[in-house]
């Protein structure tokens, strides 16, 4: 916006005050140099546009957005049904799915109707020739319309809908007849993460077993998932990927270690580069990572069947990284060998599923566990191996009450 009038005005200033001349030249020269470098940046961008590289970038971003849209459609069952072509196609019915998986990529899937769930009910009995402790099974309960992300410890990912995993026989549940998402050489399956709601969150946090975390914008993560690689999130050779969790920037991120140390911090304060946020003992490792803000309570399950309840307000958010963590267990209990197998933020109507050392998989209402302070069916001789919580859909609960009303 330098017009001839302005130039005349500058000349007038120089005529009135010759000392201003030097300043004017300096200011204009600085501006010219700034504009020249900006022009160079724009020219480089133009070359990218002309060569099509920019177009490729945009195409990749569009593909990623389309992918996210597809996920959302699945989540809300909003896929376009073409009645003329497939008149017999039924709308998908949402059921609860229990996944049992291990580091070898073996996945067992059981389907259950949430209406019929009874606290303490045995969902299945896992038969295995090798002791369950050696296979480190993990549990996950999700909706049948969910999209899953298989996260390997190399940072590789595979995404697929739950429905693509074949159903296992609940009467004969064993690792011999499983679906396998096969790891590559030297790879192990670290976690399976539901991602259908990922786009509703601002950030994703990747955690490692040794207490390292990495925060990323959920939109960036989506772009990485489209390329089947999100990074391992580990720095140390002895460390391994734990998993992912999603949240808003003001949510409280929580990690719980097996020996009962807790790290918590607001998401927007977490590091974007991989950083060690909690210093764990040599024998300790993280067992759970989750967001706690919107749930009022936390529940910790120990391997000997104790259900420890704390209010979320009990958490002391860490002020810095590399903290020792907030202890949950007393020194005596820790030395006595008490270990945490899982932790979760809960609401009153939440449910949990626990894998016992003998292979029994049972379902519990978490409010009852909280009230009792222990897992009712746990036997002192058999330790608990894995724990996961889930939220029964509200619509289903209405059906439950309708059903019980009919019975009465």
């Amino acid at each position: 916006m330098i017009s001839q009038d302005k130039i005349d005005e500058w000349i007038r200033e120089v005529q009135e005050r010759p000392a201003s001349a030097e300043l004017i030249i300096r200011y204009i020269a600085n501006r010219l140099s700034e504009l020249a470098s900006r022009e160079e940046e724009l020219a480089a961008e133009n070359i990218e546009l002309l060569s099509g590289r920019k177009v490729e970038n945009y195409e990749s971003r569009i593909a990623s957005l389309e992918y996210q849209l597809e996920l959302l459609k699945r989540q809300f069952a909003g896929e376009v049904i073409l009645p003329s072509a497939e008149p017999s196609m039924k709308p998908s019915v949402e059921t609860l799915n229990l996944l049992v998986y291990n580091h070898l990529g073996q996945v067992l899937r059981l389907e259950t109707d949430p209406v019929g769930l009874v606290p303490g009910q045995t969902l299945a009995q896992l038969h295995s020739e090798t002791p369950h402790e050696e296979l480190l099974p993990n549990l996950l309960v999700i909706s049948s319309l969910e999209e899953l992300l298989f996260i390997f410890d190399s940072g590789r990912t595979v995404a697929m809908p739950v429905a693509q995993i074949p159903l296992s026989d609940p009467e004969n549940l064993n690792w011999k007849q499983t679906f396998i998402q096969e790891p590559r050489i030297k790879e192990e399956l670290a976690a399976i993460q539901p991602i259908a709601k990922m786009t509703l969150y601002e950030a994703s946090v990747q955690a490692s077993r040794r207490g390292f975390v990495k925060k990323m914008k959920a939109s960036f993560l989506a772009a990485h998932i489209a390329e089947n690689y999100i990074g391992s999130g580990v720095k140390l050779p002895a460390d391994k990927t734990l998993g992912l969790t999603f949240g808003m920037s003001d949510d409280l991120f929580v990690m719980v270690s097996r020996e009962g140390y807790i790290f918590s911090m607001q998401v927007d304060r977490l590091p974007s580069a991989i950083e060690e946020v909690i210093r764990l003992g040599i024998t300790d490792h993280i067992v759970s990572a989750f967001m706690a803000t919107h749930k009022a309570s936390l529940l910790f399950i120990t391997q000997n069947g104790k259900a420890v309840h704390r209010d979320t307000s009990w958490l002391e958010a860490a002020g810095s990284f590399k903290t020792k963590g907030q202890p949950l267990l007393s020194k005596e209990r820790r030395e006595a060998g008490i270990r945490i197998i899982g932790a979760t933020p809960i609401e009153e109507e939440d449910w949990g599923v626990i894998l016992h050392g003998d292979g029994t998989i049972k379902v519990y209402q978490l409010s009852e566990l909280m009230a009792a302070g222990s897992v009712p069916a746990a036997q002192p001789s058999i330790s608990l191996l894995s724990f996961s919580s889930f939220h029964r859909p509200e619509a289903r609960q209405e059906q439950v009450s309708e059903k019980s009303a009919t019975r009465s």
Partner: protein
């Protein structure tokens, strides 16, 4: 016994000073202001009746009002009687009130003292009389000063113009309202001094014989001129006083009008009254947050889509919706201040979608405020004439206030009275400093 301070309760800016017999301390009463010794006479009352003054008030006003939701509801405010030749009827009057308004901003509070009819205003559910408004402001000022001094303040010497009004009753009433407000604000002892006398007190201390002096008090909101006889407190006499509502903030507005608006599309956008009206509101800092409505955003985006000067309108959108107004007005004021000491300055601001770079010279500035210069010179000559003196009979011109440092006005005073007669005050704000001296003498 508590402290006794001097307070200059100005139309646009205020200040607090204390004198303990050795040195005058004009308190840095507004740390957020470009000049901390001066606090804007602005009061912001939030919906939950919290009070803020100065830059803090401005910042909160911007923060709460930019991009906020609005919901207008029709409210009955009164009725109008219509009397015709053979008929009489009454009509109801309604106004549209924004019921989501988070707070109320008040400026030019002192001007209300001159009004015969103004008694106060309704702020949400509570009525604030004029005395309540002023006392709220003075209370906040007192609280800040006490925090800085670490001691309780009991007494105050307040400045007042030579006359609030030509009507003696109204003049007395204005001073009584101000006194009542000061007492309500927590000052146990309140007295007054004429602002021009306060401005001259510091100068008077250096005199060894009586003089005819022109006080040229040129601050942020007004120019106040007083011709008086000084040197002996017993023979002090005001010959004439005058003034005009032109000062620093008008020069800021002139810079924005002439140099900044083209960066936001002025001249480039034609035949789009909606957008042109948005651009023309920029010089009014208090009105800018009111533009951040979805309607304005839609209008801007429509114009940008239509490729009507898209880069400049994107800059306008950024100014309105990205909470940049505060930095923008500060940048303009800093540019003006810098031109008092150097011939050239760059007014620059770089934010998202906004890149202002304006090489601005002193001669351009003088050209931009030429109209104001002429008005000021006229008021000056009128005041001298009203005093019954010739410029040659004025022994000294004491200039005070931030705007009195603008070179073109120093030259004007030198041209009219002779450069050797123009004296600069040793302290930043002579009125505030003089009031502190008066407060010390009163104790």
């Amino acid at each position: 016994m508590g402290l006794h301070v001097g307070i200059d309760f100005g139309t646009s800016n205020s200040g607090v000073a204390i004198y303990r017999g050795k040195k005058i301390h004009v308190l840095p009463i507004d740390a957020k202001n470009l000049v901390p010794e001066v606090v804007k006479t602005i009061l912001y009352i939030t919906r939950d009746y919290r009070h803020f003054i100065g830059q803090e008030a401005v910042e909160l006003y911007y923060k709460q009002n930019i991009n906020r939701q609005r919901r207008f509801v029709k409210k009955w405010t009164g009725e109008i009687d219509y009397h015709g030749a053979d008929m009489h009827y009454v009509r109801d009057v309604y106004v549209y009130v924004d019921e989501l308004q988070p707070g109320r901003l008040m400026q030019y509070i002192k001007t209300a003292l001159r009004s015969e009819k103004y008694t106060g205003t309704q702020v949400f559910g509570r009525f604030y009389s004029l005395s309540d408004i002023i006392s709220t402001y003075l209370h906040a000022l007192k609280h800040r000063a006490e925090s800085l001094l670490g001691e309780e303040i009991n007494g105050v010497t307040l400045g007042r113009p030579v006359s609030f009004s030509q009507n003696p009753d109204l003049d007395r009433k204005a001073q009584e309202t101000l006194q009542q407000a000061a007492i309500e604000a927590g000052f146990k002892q309140v007295d007054f001094e004429l602002e021009p006398i306060a401005a001259a007190l510091y100068y008077e201390l250096s005199l060894n014989k009586p003089q005819n002096v022109l006080i040229f008090d040129f601050g942020g909101g007004t120019l106040d001129l007083t011709v008086m006889h000084l040197g002996d407190p017993h023979t002090r006499r005001v010959f004439a006083s005058g003034g005009i509502s032109i000062a620093g903030s008008d020069f800021d507005r002139a810079i924005i009008q002439k140099r900044m608006l083209p960066h936001f599309g002025k001249g480039a956008v034609q035949q789009d009254p909606e957008i042109i009206s948005l651009i023309n509101i920029i010089p009014d800092w208090a009105a800018l947050p009111e533009l951040s409505t979805p309607l304005a955003k839609t209008a801007l985006e429509r114009a940008i889509q239509a490729k009507k000067s898209p880069v400049r309108l994107k800059a306008l959108e950024s100014l309105i919706f990205n909470d940049l107004a505060f930095s923008f007005y500060n940048m303009v004021e800093a540019t003006k201040i810098a031109l008092s000491s150097q011939g050239v300055v760059v007014a620059a601001m770089k934010e998202k979608d906004l890149d202002i770079w304006e090489l601005y010279t002193r001669s351009q500035f003088e050209k931009d405020i030429l109209e104001h210069q002429e008005q000021i010179e006229k008021v000056l000559m009128d005041t001298i004439s009203a005093s019954g003196m010739e410029p040659g009979q004025i022994d000294a011109v004491v200039k005070t206030g931030g705007s009195s440092n603008i070179p073109v006005f120093i030259e004007m005073l030198g041209r009219v009275f002779g450069p050797d007669k123009v004296r600069s005050s040793d302290v930043f704000n002579s009125v505030t400093a003089g009031l502190a001296i008066k407060a010390y003498q009163t104790m």
